[in-house]
Each structure stands twice: as C-alpha cells, then as structure tokens.
Subunit: 264 residues, 2 copies
C-alpha cells in the first residue's frame, strides 16, 4: 500500500493498519519526533528546546490535555496517529503500544520536533548520497561530549547522527541543510570525531550498525532527535511517551516549506 | 592617511599618492581583480568568466576602448585608479607602472572580477579567523588539478587560496561564503589537498609564505582570482594589463550588497 500524504499515514495508523517505520512514506511531508510529558515539566522542556534548537527543533506543541496540534495537521490525534509508541515511567520503558489513549491524562503536553528525514530528502534531491539509506539501515548515531544547555531537570550530552561524505558533497550538504533549521540545520561537526568525544567511529552508541567512512571521505555529524529522548530518560519523569525509533508522526507540512532563503 | 571610500582610494591612486596594496583600505567597499585585454579576445574571455564563475566572478566590464565602468563607480578611470599595474606582452611581464594611459588603445576591454577581500571581511565580521591576515601576509595559493572550462584560447587549471580552519569554523565559512557568489562563493574543497592535485600543503605555488594548518584543522580551499591571470598568461595575448598582486581596484559597491539570501 502506498501513502501519498501525511493525512493518509495518520489515518492508517489510527485504523491500526500501519505499525511500522515511516521512512519513505508520504514523500515531501514533514515527519516529526514525538515527546509527550506531564504538564508540570512542559515549560522546562519547551525552554530546553528553545535553548538547543539544533538538537531539538520544535515544530509544534499541544495545549495541556489536548491530543490535537492544528498547526501540524487539522485532522491529527496524537494518541493514535503514530505507528507505534514507547511509554516510559521514571525513565524505564514499560510498554510499546500502537495507541496511547489508555495512558492519556488531562495535563499531558505533546511536543513534535523536526527530524532528519526532511533534510535527507533535500540531500537526495540535490544528488548528495546518503549511505545508510543505500544500505537500508538507520544512521549511525553517537553520544558526544558536546553539552546541551540545561533547563530544569533536562540536561545531558548532544546525540549526533553521522553521514559519510566526500569533500565536495560535504560542502554541498552544509549549504543544503543550513536551509533547514527546523530539521536540525547545518552539521555540528565534520572530520575529527575525537574532538566531539567519539572514540571509535566504528562503534555507534545507537543505530543498527556502523556506516563505513571510506578513504577520502569525512564523517559529517548532525544534531540528532535522539538527544531529547536521551535527556528525558535521564530526567526520569513519572510518565513520558515518545515515538518508537523510526515510527514518526506524519504532518501536513511540506519539507519545502521548512526551507529558508537560498544558500547557494 | 585613512581611506574611507572606494572613491577616495581611486582619487589617491589617480593623483599618484597611493601605490601600495589595498588590503584593509576603505572597509566595506568591494575590491576587484583587473584584466584588460584586446577587443579580439574580449568575447572569449567574458565567456570564460561565465563558464568558470567560482574562479572568475565577473563584477563588471567596460565597452571597447572606454576606460570607464559606470556600474562599479561613476567617477572611475581604469587607466589611473589602481595603485599599480602589470603590463604583459605575449605572456611576458614588461612593465609595472602606476598608470597605464600610455598603453591605452581604442579596442581594449576591461574586466573587473570579485576577489577574496570581500568574503574575508564577511568571515571576520562573523568571528571566523583568517590566519594569513593575522600573520599579515597574503594567503597560501596553489595550482590544482581541477580543470577550468575552456573558452577560445583561455584554459588551464584552477588556482585556489587556502585558509586553515577548525571544523566548526569551516562549517560556518561554507555558510558565510556561500552567500557571496560574486566573490568566489563557497569553498571548492576542504580536507584532502591530494584530491585536488596539491602534493605538499607546505609549498604554495603563489603567495609569500606557507600558512600553517594546525592539528585539528582543515585546509579549506576557495577558487582564487589568480586563475584568470594564470590562464591569460598561458594564452600569451599580444597585450594584457592586470593589477599588481594585492593592488586592487576599489569600487563604489558595498560588500554587503553582494550577499545573497540567508544561509544560516
């Protein structure tokens, strides 16, 4: 079955016929990372996003208790519209349901954050190769020594994703992703993993498997949407709900709408 | 004596009171490389610039025989308004005068090309360091294996200038210089000099001395305005007039006018 729009993906999730990864679905539509937190933590988390926009580019948030975020989709119910969720209590994973209605509370606030799917689409459109997509795996993801700016209970190191590129493509990738600040923006580093606390590029901290950096290429690092999940887990809130890795929220926004002026 | 405007520099040159390098003069005003050629070669050279815009970003050209380029300065006489010139016959340097009125002909066409002074100003304004300026020398400049696109008698390898930068500054420099396509634009390479035919980064082909690349830094390479001089010399025109290295034409344009949209 093909999905052409964000709405069609959300409906399929809601009807229980789609419960797998969203990479490649509804091309052109913005996919988002999800974090749902108790109202008592919402202001601190929103501030954390504002202070760390490369790692936590906030696309939208709900009113307390509301499962809707009209700015991201008129027909959108955050409790049912993702393929699969993770439910955490005190930082411990307790469930991986396809619907979180049973966990809903009047004080929950939903945050949707930009993700790298959008800028990877832009890279491919400009003929910059993305090796992990060619390998049909997720990106190699690493914990770094780059600190985030803390807010309330939220703090911890930035998590980054890595894409190997030759110099010409690395320059082009800086230009292209700089145009997308709402989905992590420009790389945070390239070339010297040890400068950002990565001891072994062959051993990612997250991700399914290493992604080879070939001779004459750089590892290029972008801030990753796993950063907010990582700091939320470290803060051990009494309840948190996130998307399951790769199972994003499809919005009605278009990736091209996220592009700022012209970089090149 | 301080020079605040492009016009004041041109007048000082015309009056014979300024005959040295223009780096740092009239901050904010665009400085340009100069190439004056016989009319028979003008179309081929203009086409060469159009085909190689990173190396030869054309800011303006004169009508045949006219020493004026109103688009670059209303009161501008190309024969007298640079500090010092070089005169070439059949590719051989024959004179370094402060005024080229004695060489003027009715068919000569003047080309003014953007130069790196403009983007270096933009880098410094964004706190990206430029080491050769800190050393008070010119940039290290290299012949590469990158071919230019030929036009008529004009062909040959691209010449590049190098600035050493740490990864964060290299990313920022790509963003900043991408906004200035009229003055060489984004880097053409970074990181692996051997990929572009540079065997020894410690031995520049042009420039006063090497510029150190320290541990944890990349050499970052931009197309250089010496490229057109190099291909003109190789074409051995019966007459050519250029600026002397570092002795640029000051225009009435502002560097900030050359910036395109917002890269970051």
């Amino acid at each position: 079955m093909k999905y052409e729009t964000g709405l069609s993906v959300r409906h399929a999730c809601r009807e229980g016929v789609l419960n797998h990864q969203t990479a490649g679905l509804a091309p052109g539509f913005v996919q988002g990372n999800l974090a749902i937190l108790p109202g008592a933590l919402a202001e601190d988390f929103e501030r954390f996003c504002q202070l760390n926009p490369q790692a936590c580019p906030l696309l939208g948030r709900s009113e307390p208790g509301s499962p809707h975020i009209p700015a991201l989709g008129l027909d959108l119910d955050i409790r049912t519209d993702l393929p699969r969720y993770r439910v955490w209590r005190d930082g411990v994973l307790v469930d991986e349901p396809e619907d979180v209605s049973a966990f809903w509370r009047d004080d929950l606030v939903s945050f949707v954050l930009g993700c790298s799917h959008s800028f990877e689409e832009a890279l491919l459109e400009e003929a910059v190769p993305v090796r992990h997509l060619e390998m049909n795996v997720g990106p190699a993801v690493y914990l770094t020594s780059i600190p985030t700016v803390p807010s309330g209970p939220f703090s911890g190191p930035m998590v980054v994703s890595m894409r190997p590129l030759n110099p010409a493509d690395a320059i082009r990738a800086v230009q292209i992703t700089s145009r997308f600040p709402a989905v992590h923006g420009a790389p945070v580093h390239l070339g010297f993993p040890e400068q950002i606390g990565i001891a072994d590029i062959g051993k990612p901290d997250y991700g399914t498997q290493p992604v080879e950096v070939r001779a004459g290429e750089f590892p290029v690092f972008w801030a990753c949407g796993i950063t907010p999940q990582s700091v939320i887990m470290a803060a051990k809130p009494e309840l948190a709900i996130t998307h399951m890795a790769g199972c994003m929220l499809l919005t009605d926004l278009r990736n091209e709408e996220l592009a700022t002026g012209v970089a090149a």
